[in-house]
Symmetry: C2
């Protein structure tokens, strides 16, 4: 049982789903906490059936069949055991930052493009969360009794996105003062920033 298996099991704990529904639901709701590919999300419920944590049956509609998965009592028990294990450390992959870190074999323009691309990726995610919250106000939550959890989670996402957006603005201003991407080194400004960071002070709030 991997963390991804438990994630799917937790979804099955809410209600029975078809394979397709699971992939769509998991990608929508877990995208910012536990992003997984459609392919994997089709495989996980099958694994759960193998463990005895879910049952499956086929439903037919016309000439098409689909697999419906349902959690078992063993599955509910397994979910309880998940809670006991140590949480994995966060893992953050941002290719834009990797490119920034090695920006000295490209141009200032490349850096600006990378920042623009990061900004548009973040804006898309940010907007999606805001829209989701509007939909909760409007039509309610698909599982109303769980609204408080979704909303607390959403506060995390919005704070993160806002921070990243603020940082992008900050980075643009810094880069504006660079004559080039390379060989700048420890300028006065960089020393100032380094000093702030070494004192664990924020660099954005001036």
């Amino acid at each position: 049982m991997t963390t991804s298996s438990y994630a799917v099991l937790a979804l099955l704990d809410l209600k029975p789903w078809t394979g397709y529904e699971l992939t769509q639901q998991a990608q929508r709701s877990l995208r910012y906490a536990w992003p997984k590919s459609e392919r994997l999300l089709y495989s996980e419920p099958k694994k759960l059936v193998g463990f005895g944590y879910a049952t499956t049956h086929k439903e037919t509609a016309g000439n098409r069949t689909r697999n419906v998965y349902e959690i078992t009592s063993e599955g509910r028990q397994a979910l309880g055991e998940w809670t006991g294990s140590r949480t994995e450390a966060p893992r953050i992959e941002i290719e834009a930052l990797l490119r920034l870190l090695f920006a000295d074999h490209g141009s200032i323009e490349d850096v600006r493009r990378t920042l623009d691309e990061l900004e548009s990726d973040i804006a898309e995610h940010h907007q999606a969360v805001v829209d989701l919250m509007a939909s909760y106000l409007d039509g309610g939550h698909p599982f109303p009794s769980r609204t408080h959890l979704s909303v607390l989670f959403a506060t995390f996402q919005v704070e993160m996105f806002k921070t990243i957006e603020k940082w992008i603005e900050f980075a643009r201003h810094e880069v504006d003062d660079w004559p080039d991407t390379r060989d700048l080194g420890m300028t006065e400004r960089t020393e100032e920033l380094t000093r702030l960071l070494a004192q664990d002070r924020s660099t954005l709030t001036e």
Copy 2:
């Protein structure tokens, strides 16, 4: 050529490294932008040699040999082409948030423990960056002409860590007002938060 290959190639562009040095250096410096396993980092330079982007030779010290890798001019050219491709979208994996989202099959105590574990993981990373900045002030950067890039990258990390730490404090206070993890739903407080989020307003700054 994967992004990980380019990451290693970018390191080789700085100077020749042994396999072991590459694994250590990549894990230290890329940990928060492009976290990769030691195992992979041992394999990547071999792949680069296969592409003609690096050369390798063995050095011996006593009874022990180690592989030294050096970038080729084809490798430098390949690095330039990397810049042209679209940046991948950020990917954020935080198991603690997944657990929070499904906190309703556990206790309030479980939620608090999850928040504590997230906090201590973040604190560790946060401290590492602050220490690194202190070391730049103290002994300088291993590649002095690249200090400005490392420091700009560090500003990102510190802002992120501060935001997460603030959110953890916020989440603790919210959870303190919960009588239980489940069936809370759209309380007055949750509606207030949802409204703020739907208007894209921050929830932390009250």
